[in-house]
């Protein structure tokens, strides 16, 4: 009887830890106020997307085709894309309009905060990327390189809504409103 109780207790503890582990990755981004980012993007969406003169080209299209198998994939993809935007898109884009520039800046700051939160979660557990995820990241970078830098930057900014939708779908972020 006691042995059964002990074994059951151990099993429950393991399960709990596993669930915590999964939730932990997702919880890393829950605290981020996604609504603020989305609201900011909606205000500049029309202006930015209007500048996109190449509708038949997409940069983040492969993101839709990516099959998420493990929670680690979500962690890897999120980390890679955040790095892409912060390291390449926001730096390459030059916005003349101050209002739009302000909004883009707020979005960039939110992305930096998200990167920091995700790095802390990743330090506790290793975030190994699968090959498929690595391939998807490389395609995005290739698409970005095919276009002119300004056009690519504008187009990438215009596709922010795709990235934000993907985050909402995969991280199950709760609204902080």
């Amino acid at each position: 009887m006691k042995l059964q109780c002990v074994s059951l207790w151990l099993l429950g503890t393991i399960l709990m830890l596993c669930s915590v582990d999964n939730h932990g990755l997702r919880r890393c981004l829950i605290s981020t106020d996604m609504d603020h980012i989305e609201d900011s993007f909606q205000e500049i969406k029309r202006a930015i997307q209007a500048k996109d003169t190449f509708p038949n080209v997409t940069i983040l299209s492969t993101l839709e085709t990516l099959q998420i198998i493990k929670p680690l994939d979500v962690c890897c993809v999120t980390k890679n894309l955040l790095a892409f935007y912060v390291d390449r898109v926001f730096k390459d884009h030059q916005e003349p309009n101050p209002k739009i520039l302000r909004k883009i800046s707020s979005i960039a700051n939110s992305f930096l905060y998200m990167q920091k939160t995700l790095r802390q979660c990743q330090e506790q557990r290793q975030c190994h990327c699968r090959q498929e995820v690595t391939n998807v990241t490389r395609v995005i970078h290739d698409n970005y390189d095919q276009l002119e830098v300004r056009s690519a930057a504008v187009k990438s900014l215009g596709e922010l809504d795709i990235f934000l939708a993907w985050i909402a779908k995969n991280h199950e972020v709760t609204s902080s409103a």
């Binding site: 996604m34 609504d35 989305e38 609201d39 993007f41 909606q42 969406k45 029309r46 997307q49 209007a50 996109d52 509708p55 038949n56 080209v57 997409t58 983040l60 299209s61 839709e64 215009g158 596709e159 809504d161 795709i162 939708a165 909402a168 199950e172 972020v173 609204s175 409103a177």
Partner: protein, 580 residues
């Protein structure tokens, strides 16, 4: 070589110029935009200036990420076009881009592309329908999401916007058009508390998704009127409970009235007719048992006798009895009425007429009504002796006198045994005493008769007193026995008849002792005879006669009479035994 190149270049340039000229002629639509709801994607554009009748618009669609523009409509006169059918996977893709250009004949304008990538963010959220119900003072609302026909089976509003759906509700009471009450609910079912208000309420709903920036659109106004509910479940239950209680109380009262407090009726068997002499006599108390016999004057009797002789006592059985025969008449009342003045009878022996005449309503013995008349003192002494005389004279040779009288009295007095007994009583009484003491004894017996009718109850005492056989008490005893014997006319008749030989023997004896014995024997016989008839009567005498040995039947008594001589000693023995 060189001229060919120049010619080709000129043709090419001219062609290009021509095309440019054509393209520049028509202006392109100023703006193109999408107005989309859930699976209802409409592309709108503004017309070109200077639009002619032949101007139409060409629409093309591009799926974001693919490189090809698909032409949807070559020539559209309207300023909008429904692209729902070609954008069904809008909710699962990165979006679409659309472009429109004006076409006029062979001329085309430049393309005008939508500013933004048409994606899920641009879909305006709407509500399919709102249903309101009233339940116990609450307004229950149910919001139905949009269910467009073109939507694929597995693309529902709830599946696409799976989380964070919210609805804003605006409530207003009909009179006030601008006073709204807002409320946010997070589910499709909501309830509103009206707090007892009555009237018409109108509700509008605006959907939203908190995790998205999609805009929402207010729904159509749904109104519901709230009225006072009188037929609620609780009210109906209370009403029916009250009705049940009332009916139960009514049923209880009715049952009480019908079955508990019902006036109990006596069974018909136990019902009695109007009280008659029989009952009266039986009910009479016995304080008047003390009857004192007073000797009467013979003179008084003699005066009255002729009157009686002339009367039709012998054979008269009709009502004429009451007309001229006061004595006979009195018999009837004897049976029927109690004796209000028993003392009067007692005093009759003294020859003093009791002052009972006032008791009679008629005031005369001729009256045939109840026994009040019997008590007339004037008549009693007169009738007594006369009666006796007649009886005495007729008793020996005629059986009518006493019998007839008795019969008459019977007929007129009723069918009570008491009445007949009285008649009988009257008959033998004069006989026996007539033999021995025609005047005194008979008279007394007659008097006794009058009283007996009234004092039937007292006869018990009489019997008891006269049981001891003594000379002094003889008359008393006799009188009592006579009374008893008088109860049964038939027996008396028989006894009367039978008494003749006895009387003869008795008369011949002439000895007082013998007289004493014989009358006692006769009386005992009479008593015996009468006893048979007394079988069913409720006279107390029956009870008293029992010790005298009243058990034999009338026939038996007759036989006993026949063999009086033989049975005399027995009778006497019986009598003596009883007396002792």
């Amino acid at each position: 070589m060189l001229p060919r190149l120049v010619v080709l270049l000129a043709a090419f340039l001219s062609r290009r110029l021509g095309s440019d000229a054509h393209g520049t002629e028509l202006p392109s639509p100023p703006s193109v935009w999408f107005e989309a709801e859930f699976f209802h994607h409409i592309l709108h554009w503004t017309p070109i200036p200077n639009q002619s009748e032949s101007t139409c618009y060409e629409v093309a669609l591009l799926r974001y990420g693919t490189g090809r523009w698909n032409s949807i409509s070559n020539c559209s006169q309207a300023l909008s076009y429904d692209l729902t059918a070609v954008t069904l996977d809008l909710y699962h893709s990165n979006g679409y881009r659309a472009r429109v250009r004006a076409v006029d004949g062979s001329r085309h304008s430049n393309w005008t592309v939508t500013n933004t990538r048409f994606s899920l963010d641009e879909v305006t959220l709407t509500v399919g329908s709102v249903k309101l119900e009233i339940h116990n003072g609450f307004i229950l609302g149910k919001i139905q999401p949009p269910r467009p026909k073109m939507a694929p089976a597995n693309d529902t509003y709830e599946s696409i916007f799976s989380h964070f759906r919210e609805y804003e509700i605006a409530i207003r009471k009909v009179p006030g058009n601008f006073t709204f009450t807002h409320k946010k609910v997070k589910h499709e079912n909501f309830s509103l508390l009206t707090s007892g208000e009555v009237g018409e309420f109108c509700v509008q709903v605006k959907p939203s998704v908190t995790s998205r920036t999609n805009k929402g659109m207010w729904s159509k106004e749904e109104c519901v009127s709230l009225t006072r509910q009188y037929f609620t479940v609780t009210n109906v239950i209370i009403f029916f409970a009250f009705v049940l209680l009332l009916s139960g109380a009514l049923a209880y009262c009715l049952a009480l009235q019908l079955y508990v407090r019902r006036r109990k009726k006596l069974p018909r068997v136990l019902l009695f007719k109007k009280p008659n002499a029989f009952i009266f006599i039986s009910q009479r108390p016995s304080p008047e048992t003390q009857d004192t016999i007073h000797p009467l004057d013979e003179e008084a009797f003699l005066k009255v006798s002729p009157e009686l002789r002339n009367s039709d006592l012998h054979g008269s059985t009709d009502s004429g009895f009451g007309s001229t025969k006061p004595s006979l008449q009195t018999e009837e009342p004897q049976f029927l009425l109690p004796d209000p003045h028993p003392q009067a009878d007692r005093t009759l022996g003294n020859g003093e007429p009791p002052e009972l005449g006032n008791s009679c309503s008629s005031g005369s013995s001729n009256s045939t009504d109840s026994g009040i008349c019997l008590q007339e003192p004037s008549l009693s002494p007169s009738t007594g002796p006369t009666w006796e005389q007649q009886v005495g004279s007729d008793s020996r040779g005629q059986d009518d006198s006493g019998i007839g009288l008795v019969q008459n009295s019977e007929g007129q007095a009723g069918d009570t045994q008491g009445g007949s007994a009285l008649g009988h009583d009257s008959a033998p009484e004069p006989e026996v005493p007539a033999e021995q003491d025609p005047t005194a004894v008979v008279f007394r017996g007659y008097l006794r008769q009058t009283r007996c009718a009234e004092e039937k109850a007292t006869k018990t005492g009489c019997l008891e007193e006269e049981l001891p056989l003594t000379g002094g008490l003889g008359p008393k005893f006799r009188g009592c026995l006579d009374d008893e014997a008088g109860l049964h006319p038939s027996a008396l008749a028989k006894g009367y008849l039978k008494q003749d030989p006895l009387e003869m023997t008795l008369a011949s004896s002439g000895a007082p002792t013998e007289q004493w014995n014989q009358p006692t024997e006769e009386w005992s016989l009479l008593a015996l005879s009468s006893c048979s008839d007394l079988g069913t009567s409720d006279w107390s005498f029956a009870h008293d006669l029992a010790p005298l040995g009243c058990v034999a039947a009338p026939d038996g008594l007759l036989g006993s009479f026949n063999s009086d001589l033989v049975t005399l000693p027995l009778i006497s023995s019986l009598h003596s035994s009883d007396s002792s």
